[in-house]
């Protein structure tokens, strides 16, 4: 069995090496060794589901050896990871029993997106749970907090309208004390559908000298192009980018063999990467930092542990 050892931090920064390992793995059954994970965020967990599904389609269900850390396993349980991992992986290791009191500290656990009705579910849940978190912990004015739901709605609809496949969404808040000294909210939305290149090819490929994943991402991300001949279409990603920029956040979209992102001052990402290992569909990561409370003498939430 081929082993892919997962890093201590299961998040967007360390996602690409895992994709490379999967790409380089020879045929046959895979084992994802998660025993060393000490930290996982929505991007990492949803990404792991996506990679497991790719492995399953390639050969058979991969084995996932669960983290040694009881805290991490507990957190992944609260995020709903195992429920969605069951059909994808053969799980090895002990799992926590679900909490029976229904109480959760999670902003939005891993949620499948199969239809527009699921988008309504996401918006309802986030409005019920998230407004207080966004306003009190991340200092967003109420009207901006509502726009967070709009972002989630538009990014989830992207799956239904363009992927021709189902996907997952998850979001949670954390303290990024070392990196930017503030709390952040992390959103991950992923699918394993046709991807941007295939989605836009019919309407746009002929106008490009070289149509590839990078060109398709630039067309959608930078120019708001879509497969529909309707000026009302294609604004979802543009509006998301506008909000993310206003709030000093980061957005990245990986599709096929390329990744494009808006890089804020606090980050060191690359605006456009090409020739990455192929991964079907689209993987979207959004990080929104807390707004700086100008009335406070310290940066908001500058101390404390991870908000999970």
């Amino acid at each position: 069995m081929n082993v892919i050892t997962l890093p201590a931090s299961l998040d967007e920064r360390y996602f690409e090496p895992i994709v490379q390992s999967l790409d380089a793995a020879p045929g046959g059954r895979l084992l994802f060794d998660a025993t060393h994970i000490r930290w996982a965020d929505p991007y990492g967990m949803v990404g792991l589901l996506a990679l497991g599904e790719v492995a399953r389609r390639r050969s058979e269900r991969a084995v996932l050896k669960l983290p040694d850390s009881a805290d991490v396993v507990s957190y992944m349980g609260r995020m709903g990871f195992f429920e969605h991992a069951e059909p994808i992986f053969e799980l090895h290791g002990s799992r926590p029993r679900p909490r029976s009191d229904g109480v959760s500290d999670v902003l939005l656990e891993i949620t499948p997106i199969n239809s527009h009705a699921d988008v309504h579910t996401v918006v309802d849940l986030v409005n019920r749970r998230g407004l207080n978190i966004l306003t009190s912990q991340l200092n967003y004015p109420m009207r901006e907090a509502f726009q967070f739901s709009v972002i989630l709605s538009e990014v989830c609809q992207n799956i239904i309208e363009h992927a021709e496949s189902s996907g997952w969404v998850a979001t949670q808040t954390y303290s990024w004390t070392k990196k930017i000294g503030r709390k952040v909210v992390v959103i991950a939305v992923m699918d394993l559908g046709i991807g941007f290149r295939a989605s836009l090819a019919g309407a746009h490929a002929a106008r490009y000298d070289h149509w590839d994943d990078g060109a398709a991402l630039e067309a959608a991300f930078m120019h708001g192009q879509t497969r529909f001949h309707d000026p009302g279409r294609g604004q979802g990603i543009q509006q998301i980018r506008k909000y993310v920029a206003r709030w000093g956040g980061r957005i990245s979209i990986r599709s096929g063999t390329a990744r494009i992102m808006d890089v804020p001052a606090w980050d060191e990402g690359v605006p456009l990467e090409k020739d990455l290992p192929y991964l079907p569909g689209a993987q979207i990561g959004i990080v929104l930092p807390a707004l700086v409370d100008t009335n406070a003498t310290q940066p908001a939430a500058a101390t404390g542990k991870a908000g999970r």
Binding site: H120, S153, G232
Partner: protein
């Protein structure tokens, strides 16, 4: 041409319509199918009136409005009734908008080159794409309420011909009402029923 006296004010509570159209499932105006259902419901009710009407799109109970739903429910509705072959003679005013609704509606209207009279946070404004003189003429007519283009030009302190042309464009885009055959215009908001507290 229609005199204001023939216009039937007609109010749509968007929340009620959504619940009726989408089986009472959703409390937020998100996704394109929701917007389409909403638009079809509104079109159906306008069709039942069978006369020129002023349709009030009431957003008072709406919390979240996304761009996709705004495009389907608002932009495509306005667009349909601006066409020469519109199914009925309807004018639209959006009421009860809060700041979080302004951007989605303004954006989708701009994308289609449309305009809409809207009450945002209690004050009436013109959302969408209009040139500066059209904006000024519309706001001046709001103050005058009902008057000739000359009155609006005096209010703006600019030459009358430009104002006449601007008001005629606004009338063609159905955000002001032209009264009879005279060079006289009426703001849509003067036709609104008084709002209960």
């Amino acid at each position: 041409m229609h005199s204001s006296g023939n216009v039937i004010p007609f109010s749509f509570d968007l929340q009620t319509l959504v619940q009726r159209s989408v089986a009472s499932l959703y409390s937020h105006l998100v996704t394109r199918p929701t917007g389409r259902a909403l638009r079809l419901g509104i079109e159906s009710q306008i069709g039942e009136i069978g006369s020129v009407c002023l349709s009030v799109l009431d957003f008072t109970q709406v919390v979240v409005l996304d761009y996709s739903c705004a495009d389907e429910a608002v932009a495509k509705l306005i667009q349909r009734y601006q066409m020469a072959d519109r199914p009925a003679d309807a004018y639209f005013v959006a009421r009860g908008l809060r700041e979080q609704h302004r951007d989605p509606i303004d954006e989708v209207l701009n994308r289609h080159g449309l305009v809409l009279v809207a009450e945002v946070e209690g004050g009436f404004t013109l959302l969408g794409r209009a040139d500066p003189l059209e904006h000024d003429a519309w706001h001046a007519l709001q103050r005058v309420r009902l008057g000739r283009a000359d009155d609006v030009a005096v209010e703006l302190n600019v030459a009358a011909p430009g104002v006449v042309a601007a008001l005629e464009r606004l009338a063609a885009r159905r955000v002001v009402l032209r009264r009879g055959t005279a060079d006289s215009f009426c703001s849509l908001t003067t036709l609104l029923p008084a709002r209960s507290a």
